[in-house]
Symmetry: C2
Subunit: 137 residues, 2 copies
């Protein structure tokens, strides 16, 4: 993904595309995976943890990335699809491989619709499946 494309993307989501943000977004998008804050930190020695953290936060607040709580102890980040608004119908299942520690977006698997008891309202969900991925099997 070119810097130009990234800048357009961020702008379209109302986030000013600074150099740092473009860098962070690019790293995440190019990886094609979910990455933790620590993972990103390692990808460029040079940039401050807090800067990456704040970039990710602004992405999250503006539906540019979504987070995954895979139970590994650190939150993972992944780029959202083009038209994602991170509402309950845009969500998908995530797969956490307990061998390699990689977490994958299963975009082909939307989170199934659940009928909650009366009185509950919801707007978000995390569905994480733990097991062994094809690479590790």
């Amino acid at each position: 993904m070119t810097n130009n494309e990234i800048e357009k993307k961020l702008e379209s989501k109302k986030v000013k595309p600074t150099a740092m943000r473009t860098l962070v977004y690019k790293a995440l998008a190019d990886s094609g995976k979910t990455l933790s804050l620590a993972d990103l930190e390692q990808r460029f020695e040079k940039v401050e943890r807090s800067t990456i953290f704040r970039a990710l936060k602004s992405f999250e607040d503006n539906f540019i990335v979504h987070t995954v709580n895979d139970g590994s102890g650190s939150v993972k980040y992944a780029v959202c699809d083009e038209d994602c608004t991170c509402n309950i119908h845009d969500l998908h299942v995530h797969f956490y491989c307990t061998r390699c520690g990689r977490t994958r977006c299963m975009k082909e698997l939307p989170i199934p619709n659940i009928k909650l008891p009366d009185g509950y309202t919801y707007d978000n969900a995390q569905f994480v499946i733990n097991g062994v991925c094809p690479r590790c099997d």
Copy 2:
């Protein structure tokens, strides 16, 4: 739940019912909720964090309690049903209220069956729904 019942329960799951473990189990069971390590710590000022931690760990390893990753930053613990072996068919949905921070076992909602792509095997899952509970609505 009486101490005697708790001791029998722990023994039946191959965990020696020490004073501390009985205390921890009782606190969790009597609460009827999910509790974090910090929550439990507060319930009895006196007992060491690490002792509670290790008690919970031994419970978890022996299917006496299960954990919930509700994304709040701390793992929650809840007592398992009698016959639970914590395999994928024993699992249920959890509900995290973003107002009060309480996490509830929705035992009436089993985790739906998911057909993963070829090559994936799984043995565990977490399905956490975020929203507002009846108490907070």
